[in-house]
């Protein structure tokens, strides 16, 4: 597994205790996350869990009223509180980001070639004819048919899926080490979503770029990522290799999310919803934020926030009711009459 070997080398990005507040209301409660070269990490959770805010904060893209604390190290350099000039070269150069709606991320009155060219001039140091040649190469790379002609097209002349390809081409212009894709396929149709996910995976393999995929869709995350972090109410509550997480989720919230999802195969069964609602950030319950909705809660859950503790060799969960499996248990199962 690539995740384990790469963890021995120093990470590309190391996020330590990252916290964000808006007007005194804490929305992100200390995130620890390391991204290694070439790996695909998924951040999954429901709306408001902080999966997007984490990266917007790391890249200095949050509005001024946001208070940010903690540390985001990129190759040993601190990003939190870094000078605007430093962030300008990091954004798009080292870490690129694409968003859900390509149509609103592109300028409707500027030709696509020029928009990609702008990124190339800024981060690639190219000029003149070299820009157009490189833009065409990128369009070919992301699978835009008839690339040379599409450089002179406007965003409205392309479909949503093709515009998302343009966004990916633009993100690749600075040859980033990490691509953060925030719900990149949520606005797209199922068959187009499959195309874009395949494209992201192919580019990651070919360029050894790390991919951070932010999504609410467990299926999308499962099919694209090596490692998954599940977030709830501003915290990571479980992290594991993708296969292990979906085969055997440990945290009751992760279990609840999977049980709430209708299966596409097998016997139809009644869905098991997670009862109640996600708490508002200004009205978090004491202790574990998930406790009021949790089927396994005990009194101790409300006492203090559970740590994201190791449960097996390579997975962690923030739940005091999840037994630690770090030591293999040799005791035989009790037999009940």
């Amino acid at each position: 597994m690539t995740g384990l070997t790469s963890r021995e080398t120093s990470p590309l990005v190391a996020i330590r205790d990252l916290a964000v507040s808006f007007d005194g209301v804490k929305v992100l409660h200390g995130i620890d996350l390391a991204i290694h070269r070439g790996e695909a990490v998924g951040l999954v959770g429901e709306s408001g869990c902080g999966k997007s805010v984490t990266w917007l904060a790391a890249l200095g893209l949050l509005p001024k009223k946001a208070t940010i604390s903690g540390s985001v190290m990129l190759d040993g350099g601190e990003l939190i509180g870094a000078a605007p000039a430093t962030l300008d070269s990091v954004r798009g150069g080292r870490i690129a980001m694409i968003f859900q709606d390509p149509a609103s991320a592109l300028n409707p009155v500027i030709k696509l070639g020029r928009q990609v060219g702008e990124a190339l001039a800024l981060h690639g140091g190219l000029s003149g004819k070299a820009i157009r040649a490189e833009a065409k190469r990128l369009f070919d790379l992301v699978g835009i048919p008839d690339a040379a002609r599409r450089l002179d097209a406007f965003p409205h002349e392309l479909s949503g899926g093709q515009n998302q390809r343009v966004m990916i081409a633009m993100a690749l212009a600075g040859k980033p080490d990490i691509l953060v894709a925030d719900e990149p396929t949520t606005a797209l149709d199922a068959t187009i979503q499959a195309q874009i996910l395949e494209l992201l995976t192919r580019i990651r393999r070919e360029t050894n770029m790390a991919l951070v995929l932010i999504s609410h869709d467990l299926g999308v995350i499962s099919e694209t990522c090596d490692r998954v972090c599940v977030m709830y109410a501003g915290r990571i509550i479980e992290t594991a290799a993708s296969e292990a997480l979906f085969a055997q989720p440990l945290h009751p919230y992760t279990q609840g999310l999977l049980a709430a999802l209708p299966p596409l195969e097998g016997v139809r069964r009644r869905l098991v919803p997670v009862e109640g609602n996600v708490p508002e950030p200004w009205n978090l319950p004491p202790g574990c934020s998930f406790a009021p909705r949790c089927p396994r809660r005990v009194e101790a859950c409300a006492m203090r926030v559970p740590l994201l503790a190791p449960k097996t060799a390579d997975r962690r969960a923030a739940c005091i009711m999840t037994p630690s499996l770090a030591q293999p248990q040799h005791r035989p199962e009790p037999v009940y009459a």
């Binding site: 068959t191 299926g219 609840g256 999310l257 596409l264």
Partner: protein
């Protein structure tokens, strides 16, 4: 209860005129092109397709919100009267619609109780003095608390708002609910609550549902039968489990395989090439042939008809029918 199906849509078509550019010639876009479907009492028909496939327009045609250019819609064996007439308004109490965005469907300036009560006032149901109690009972039936009736839409969560919309739709005791992407805007954990609610209400009230969605997993969960639309036409229709477990049409097959599932997938993903075509430039023959892995010469020229396969489902695909005929001849 009459023996006629609850809702019968027969060969409906809907065309829109579209103009390309300022001086361009206006061309007809066939958003819905000869669609027939049936919703039985107490059963759910799932209608699935990608954006632009005409599934929402079909829903609007089914309710008579738009007049069909061709074909007709029968409700309990009688044609739906023209929209806006008194007879249509009376009939509309029997058939209700639920949309994707509950915040857009609710009035922000009215409390939830007032909005759920409104259909009673409009249709003159019950005594005026009892209507608040009737509306409160409805709120409780969809899993809201009585005190939440005094809240305004923005004070409720997305899932609670959709419950309020469902309560209001149920006020007139409809026989048919047309649900257009009713859970697509909701988070997974909340989506399951609303899906379960719709299934429960159907069992209690014997509702017929036309459930429109792009999400195959949700469609499978609620539907007895499923119809798949592509570019304004139904390309496959049949029993929900049969259709999604062993799709016969290559488009259904691609849709099923493109639907992301957590965990290990049982079959390889088919990634379709190209975009869904523009309804204004419909490909010749089978509209799906430019993206189809099984397409033959015949598919480019001859449009396949929606015909039954031996297992009872309907499929509009030359290749699937040729295979079925070959197997029949061989046995």
């Amino acid at each position: 209860m009459s023996s006629a199906p609850l809702l019968q849509v027969r060969g409906v078509a809907r065309r829109y005129a579209m103009r390309r550019g300022l001086l361009g010639r206006s061309i007809d876009v066939r958003a819905v092109d000869g669609v027939s479907l049936t919703v039985e009492h107490g059963r759910t028909l799932g209608l699935v397709g990608e954006s632009g496939s005409g599934k929402s327009t079909t829903g609007r045609l089914a309710l008579g919100l738009e007049p069909p250019d061709d074909g007709d819609v029968m409700f309990k064996g009688a044609p739906i009267p023209p929209a806006g007439t008194l007879a249509w308004r009376q009939l509309r109490a029997r058939m209700q619609m639920i949309y994707q965005d509950p915040l857009g469907a609710l009035d922000r300036r009215l409390s939830i109780l007032e909005q759920v009560r409104e259909p009673y006032d409009v249709h003159g149901l019950g005594e005026a003095g009892e209507r608040d109690a009737m509306a409160t009972a409805l709120l409780q039936a969809v899993g809201l608390r009585a005190d939440q009736g005094s809240r305004y839409p923005h004070e409720l969560s997305g899932g609670q708002r959709q419950r309020a919309v469902i309560a209001r739709a149920l006020a007139t005791k409809p026989d048919l609910l047309v649900c257009d992407e009713p859970v697509s805007a909701l988070d997974v954990s909340i989506q399951a609550q609303v899906v379960n609610l719709l299934v429960d209400l159907q069992q209690e009230l014997g509702l017929g549902l036309l459930f429109i969605s792009h999400d195959l997993k949700v469609i499978r969960q609620v539907s007895h039968r499923v119809a798949v639309m592509y570019l304004g036409r139904i390309v496959e229709e049949g029993d929900a489990d049969l259709l999604l477990a062993s799709p016969a049409h290559p488009y259904t097959e691609a849709l099923v395989s493109a639907s992301p599932v957590p965990g290990r997938r049982a079959r390889p993903r088919i990634v379709l090439q190209g975009d869904p075509p523009n309804p204004a430039a419909r490909p010749s023959g089978c509209a799906f042939h430019p993206r189809c892995h099984a397409a033959r010469e015949r598919c480019k020229v001859e449009s396949p008809r929606l015909l039954p396969l031996p297992d009872g489902r309907l499929t509009a695909c030359h290749v699937a029918h040729d295979q079925a005929n070959f197997l029949k001849a061989a046995s």
